[in-house]
Amino acid sequence: MKRRMLPLFYVHPGTTRVRVPHVDGRSVAFFGLVLFVAALAGGLYLRQASDVATLAHEIRELQRQKEWVQREITVLRAEVAIAGSLRRTRELGQHLGYTLLSAADTTRQLRVQYQVEAMSSAQATPTAMGVASEPAGVLAAPAKGASKLIERLLTQFQEWLDTSVEQTSPTSSSPSATW
């Protein structure tokens, strides 16, 4: 029989027996290994792609939540602004029984008339309202005040000595009333 008449992949029959295909263990192992590596690579790729997509989704979710929170903050800030408005303060005040003064209402202000002391050139600073000249006098002559005090004490002692035993209430002119 000529070769051209033979089919492709013709294996010369060694015997008339039907040959069972011989499976080479090493080939199986090799192809198995190749399949395993390919599956592993494919699995790793799919796993990585999936992780990236999940992470991206989570990041976007967090960004979305951040944007929502920022919008809430914006709205709350506007509510704070409205809550602190003069209009609302006035309404609350009226509700509580307060009335609004006119811009320069003198009838509801306590105004104290006072005389500004003529100041020497050494004391050029203005004094606050209601501050009398007495503190300045005391500060200016402490020695004088002390001797006056002693004099007063002595006078009171003398008067007490002159008071009769029956007289129990002090007179209106006694120095102790001035304390």
Partner: protein, 590 residues
């Protein structure tokens, strides 16, 4: 027992099968690799999957606060909520009806009508003008059927005190989508770039519902919110100024007016009240666009006699007069063939410079101007800031107008009339700033409204800016003393009990086609104090009062009220007793 051809055929089939399977497998792997690794613009163009285009993130506009941190303008966000009824089944619609009714606060029949509407792709709850809060929108996003809903965000400006300081703030024209984030007038316009912030973007793939599923690397750029502005205006002072102005408008039946309060040491604007005004939140409900104009900086007027102290200051600086000088007031003077007379048209004989101010003698002012001469007069008036903008940080400031030598329309008679504030057009803020120079030892300060810009934790503070020295400190003190004496001499009332102030009233005619023949005037009073250390310059101006005529009668009472409020509010102790400041009962009052 099989024959050779049968065995060969079986092997052949197995091999061919293996080849075909391998081929199909290779083809699949190849196509997968092609779709995932290579770009395919036809997919993005198909619109079935979200394209790789940039989506913008809208920033929040910055707030405007007063000096105490109280909000004058803030931003809020609102949502329009729509539904696509075709994407909901009948069961879903009936289940959502009570839920949406409670969530949106709309009657069930309105919800039902919206859910049943299938005329268009989307039906808007409550109509296109209806807005919902961010919390309602969040609840919509939590629904299982959220893919059938669409929430559209919009920003709105909030003005907690309504029309307070409206002309100074400006507004956002929310009705015009093209200008939705562009401020108009005032601070909103001047600081628009600072307030509006920077848009953010995100680039990625979204599903057919518009939900992002994949973010590109480096595709997220967060939005940068606008900076907050802190003003030097105190809203309580502003409120008082507007209330006092309105009171005077009603009492005098004036058509319009201004009150401006300035700190002369720094140039800080403490209050700027205009009438008429408007509510920025409903900016479209005005009779005319003139309401938007801040007349304190954009409208000009002839200042009248309030200009006389500036003329005298210029003459003192040029040393053509001394404070103790006198002149012979004959009731009229001719300057450049223009006859100028006193307001009472009477001669007054020998008159001091203080009396010139106290009794507001036009003849005296024109005489002093002739001593100065045009060159020195206009040079010093320019140094006071007239004829140029003050530089205040508000939009649409006017320079005013002033004819000077060299202008083909200038005439020598202008020197005479300009000396007492006629024939020259200025803005109220220019006058206040010029008086601020008198109060600040001769140094002109640039007025400003915004004192801080806050971007996150970074704070930029504005430092006061001295524009120039106009007059010497000595001349400033001289003119201040003359003005204070003039106030005591020329008024029949105490302007600010317990305090010494320097001031001047003004009553200026309003020119029309025929000249100054009309009865209508602009009545004003400007002053600063308390002396010797002035804390405020206050200008009060009323236009066309029907009750009253002279500045001292029309505007001075409002000046007193404003001054009393300021000294009480800031706790400034009196510098003199009420008895000491005895007004001159014989003063005619101007």
């Amino acid at each position: 027992m099989s024959t050779l051809p049968h065995a060969l055929g079986q092997d052949r089939r197995i091999i061919w099968l293996a080849i075909v399977c391998a081929g199909i497998g290779l083809l699949l792997v190849g196509r997968l690799a092609s779709w995932q690794l290579l770009p395919h613009p036809e997919v993005a163009a198909s619109g079935l999957v979200g394209s790789d285009r940039a989506n913008s993130i809208v920033p929040t506009r910055g707030s405007i606060l007063d000096v105490n941190g109280q909000y004058l303008a803030a931003s809020t966000v609102e949502y329009t909520i729509a539904v696509s009824p075709r994407l909901l089944s009948r069961d879903q619609k009936s289940k959502l009806l009570p839920v949406l009714s409670g969530m949106l606060g709309l009657p069930p029949e309105v919800i039902s009508k919206t859910l049943q509407s299938e005329d268009s792709e989307y039906a808007v709850f409550g109509g296109y003008g209806k807005r919902f809060s961010v919390w309602v929108a969040e609840q919509i996003e939590q629904l299982d059927e959220r893919n059938a809903f669409n929430t559209e965000i919009s920003s709105r400006r909030v003005y907690p005190d309504g029309g307070l300081a409206a002309a100074m703030l400006g507004f956002i024209p929310y009705l015009n989508p093209d200008l939705a984030q562009t401020g108009q007038y005032g601070i909103e316009q001047y600081y628009n770039d600072v307030l509006r912030g920077t848009k953010g973007t995100w680039r990625g793939i979204s599903d057919p519902w518009g939900n992002p599923v994949l973010m590109l690397l480096g595709g997220y750029v967060p939005a940068k919110d606008g900076a907050d502005l802190v003003l030097c205006v105190d809203r309580n002072v502003q409120y008082a100024a507007e209330a006092i102005l309105l009171e005077g408008i009603q009492e005098n039946r004036a058509t319009s007016g201004n009150i401006v309060v300035l700190d002369p040491k720094t140039g800080a604007v403490l209050a700027m009240a205009n009438y008429p005004s408007y509510d920025p939140a409903t900016y479209e409900q005005v009779k005319s666009a003139d309401y938007y104009i801040n007349s304190a900086i954009s409208s000009v007027y002839e200042p009248g006699s309030v200009f006389k102290p500036l003329t005298l200051a210029a003459a003192l600086e040029a040393r053509v007069i001394r404070p103790t000088d006198t002149y012979d007031d004959r009731g009229e003077i001719t300057v450049g063939q223009q006859r100028i007379m006193n307001s009472d048209r009477l001669p007054h004989g020998r008159t001091t410079m203080t009396e010139l101010l106290a009794y507001s003698r036009n003849v005296g002012a024109a005489y002093v101007a002739t001593l100065l001469g045009p060159a020195r007069f206009y040079e010093l008036i320019r140094r006071f800031g007239f004829g140029e903008i003050t530089g205040v940080d508000l939009a649409l400031e006017s320079t005013g107008s002033m004819r000077v030598p060299g202008n083909p329309y200038w005439h020598m008679s202008d020197l005479g009339t300009n000396s007492f504030g006629q024939g020259i057009a200025v803005t109220p803020l220019q006058v206040v700033a010029a008086y601020g120079a008198l109060a600040n030892d001769g140094v002109l300060m640039r007025p400003y409204v915004v004192s801080q810009v806050r971007e996150g934790t970074a704070v930029s503070r504005r430092a006061p800016f001295a524009t120039r020295r106009v007059i010497s400190s000595e001349v400033a003190q001289q003119i201040t003393e003359m003005m204070a004496n003039a106030v005591e001499l020329g008024t029949d009332r105490t302007l600010l009990p317990g305090y010494r102030i320097a001031g001047k009233s003004g009553t200026s005619g309003i020119p029309d086609v025929g000249g100054y023949g009309g009865r209508e005037v602009i009545a004003s009073f400007i002053g600063f104090g308390p002396l010797p250390n002035p804390r405020f310059v206050i200008l009060v101006k009323y236009d066309r009062p029907k009750e009253g005529y002279w500045g001292l009668d029309v505007a001075a009472p409002a000046f007193t009220k404003m001054g009393m409020f300021l000294v009480d509010y800031y706790g400034l102790p009196p510098t003199q007793s009420v008895a000491q400041a005895t007004p001159n009962p014989a003063a005619p009052g101007r």
